[in-house]
Symmetry: C2
Subunit: 431 residues, 2 copies
């Protein structure tokens, strides 16, 4: 039976998962794929550190360059983490004609154009199912199964840590800091959770999905990315009262003028929308195509085994490409639609929470400011809820641009009847 | 640009959808796939009947054999319906080296072994994404993305007509006949809805999924298939009271002894399970793999466009296989695990509804019979609900085999305190 030689760079959680599951299900894979996936070498510098999964020392080499120098390796898996070393490794692997599998979302989001540009030039496939939503086959589905679709929109809950925190806040009324601590204790958040809770992990995934759906790479500095740090128990409670659940949503929309909106924002999701039912560390991605209509993919977005499942799926595709070279490596860099819509022009309903002085006339002044900005339509108004001396005023604003909202908020902030920093969230439409 | 010649047999709803969407998104497909999918011929006998989508008469040929005789066609799409003509056409296409795309679930469920046996022998791929769950890419996901997984279980809502009817019954309290009529008026059920409501449409899909996951073809006569015709408004109401929703579930389970359970049954699904939230004509399939864990796929399971989306995805795979012959045509017929577990040995909780005489001691007699059959554990008991002169007794029975239940029911039926035909449903476990 033909062997496919594999080199692995990085033996962290996911690397160990790939190693373990390739061993465990090797026989099954041989029967299904018709060739033998052989993990020959593992590049890992630190051989002394105690690990939950012991390093198979007979296969360890100190440097990823050793993988590229080994002619018996057909495919290399990049799971090192970081940006610059992985970038060098992947570019050099492509140059040398070795296929690449990676889970590095930050790298692809920042350097996707360079990496896939070279991959297309050299006709060497790069697989990255594990970079978005762990075990969920969203990359393959968008790239292959939905190849006949224009993508109208994508909504993703693609950061399990944030979703766990928001779920716990909604369930128990606890605040962000307590829910984060609980997530860390449960092993669902890292000691440094910045990229998870500030939205950028989801942002990287949104950029990759948008590139795949629309054929161009969005510059990350142009993407609106907000995290969940400022969501309060009151927001969560009001959302529930109004029939919504707060989720950190990656939103990708094709606009009528051919541009594309990409953002990550905490959003009010109507409870009738299946995304509102996605709880805990699970991920889900809703894709709307012009032919297929509405679809949704759900599963574990992180973790040793789910991510390894996607890496192994990619290895099987790589083996297949190796045994019978494929011409169709996905449709990332075609430059079909090259325009990102500015965040300020994005339209949605908004939820607005203000701390205000508890006296007559306040609502009229707020409504006046909204009206000046052309936001005439703030129809749903919550009764004020007393919290100490300050009142909380909660408004649901019908469709407005983000620019209108920001400009109204600047004026509202300067009103003498307003206390503290206003909070606002986009509201996901019902249909 | 290289052209891929396509022949289409059958211009019904789905055939027309393939034609329309290939035209509409042809430019997009060229850019993504790098070749031109050209629908050259359409085999359709009836050219006179008025149709919602007019037949492009310049491409029409009277017989599917004309497609096979045309050397300019690389791929044939079988959308004729029926069994025997499609079977002949597909076998002959494979013999002649033409790749096949089909949506014919009944054909594959009944003759899959023959068709894929020949396909493997001749190394001609047969694609069938559209045969299961319309636009949802479940075949590709199970076959390719999850190739590294042993499949532990599959749960599918794979018949939109049944799901629409059950959804309407749960929402409105209407009975089966009324909900079916409503589905027919809304265009969600055919004039002859037998295969949809008797469970066999779902049964065919379950057989195909099981074959893909476990590598052998289950004989259809050995599969337990039950429809929704006997579900009453009372069942639906009691389910809701207990925190469940009734769904027609296709269930595939890998058993510890290496055998596989396959069935289609109306089931009580706990409302915390995301499958309980799948409403109307939508389909969803939950797949549990030993590596990826729990996943779920959701979308439209039928209809012109969603089904066409899957056919076009298959055409792109076929084009790819044509341009660079692939060695990996999926893992259907490997005969890895060849054993179906008898339905009588399937274990689950059960819900049991009995019409009984309203007098003391009835419950004790029923419980006695259950005890005799080794079903000791009927813990949840609903208070009796008066309906005319007869009382309704509702029990929730903990894990039992279907065989135990049938045997207990036979005895219960013959008790003089029992009225009418008892109803029972499997109950889906919470986790």
């Amino acid at each position: 039976m033909r062997e496919v030689g594999i080199g692995l760079a990085g033996f962290g959680t996911v690397g160990a998962g790939v190693y373990l599951n390739l061993e465990k299900n090797r026989e099954l894979l041989r029967e299904r794929i018709g060739c033998d996936l052989v993990l020959r070498k593992i590049a890992e510098r630190d051989t002394l550190r105690p690990r939950p999964v012991p390093l198979p020392l007979d296969r360890v080499v100190p440097d990823w360059r050793d993988l590229l120098d080994d002619p018996s390796l057909d495919v290399v898996i990049e799971l090192m983490g970081g940006i610059e070393q992985p970038r060098q490794m992947i570019l050099e692997a492509i140059q040398r004609g070795k296929m690449v599998v990676t889970a590095n979302k930050a790298l692809l989001a920042e350097h996707g154009a360079e990496i896939f540009g070279l991959a297309v030039e050299k006709r060497v496939p790069v697989f990255y199912e594990a970079a978005v939503a762990g075990g969920i086959p969203i990359i393959k589905s968008v790239r292959e199964a939905f190849v006949g679709n224009h993508f109208l929109r994508v909504r993703g809950i693609v950061n399990g840590t944030s979703n766990y925190i928001l779920t716990r806040m909604a369930e128990s009324g606890m605040d962000f800091a307590s829910a984060l601590r609980e997530a860390q204790e449960a092993g669902y958040a890292e000691a440094n959770p910045a990229l998870d809770v500030n939205g950028w992990d989801a942002g990287h995934k949104a950029i990759i999905l948008a590139s795949l759906a629309y054929g161009f790479w969005v510059p990350s500095q142009d993407v609106l990315v907000e995290g969940i740090e400022k969501v309060t128990p009151a927001d969560s409670r009001f959302a529930a009262q109004l029939g919504y659940t707060i989720k950190l949503l990656a939103c990708i929309d094709a606009c009528a003028d051919g541009s594309v909106e990409v953002s990550v924002q905490p959003s009010f999701v109507p409870n009738g929308n299946i995304l509102a039912s996605v709880n805990g560390v699970f991920n889900a991605i809703a894709v709307r195509g012009d032919v297929v209509g509405d679809t949704l993919f759900y599963g574990r977005g992180a973790g040793q085994d789910p991510t390894a499942s996607s890496v192994i799926g990619d290895l099987a595709d790589a083996a297949n490409a190796l045994l019978s070279p494929r011409s169709f490596y996905g449709f990332v860099p075609h430059g079909l639609y090259g325009k990102l819509r500015p965040a300020s022009e994005m339209v949605s309903p908004f939820y607005l929470r203000l701390g205000v002085e508890d006296r007559p006339g306040v609502l009229a002044r707020i409504a006046g400011v909204l009206g000046e900005e052309g936001i005439g339509n703030s129809s749903v108004i919550q009764p004020e809820s007393q919290e100490g001396e300050e009142a909380s005023l909660n408004l649901m604003v019908h469709d407005a641009t983000r620019g209108q909202m920001l400009s109204a908020l600047e004026k509202i902030r300067s009103l003498d009847c307003v206390r503290g920093e206003p909070a606002f969230y986009r509201v996901e439409a019902s249909a």
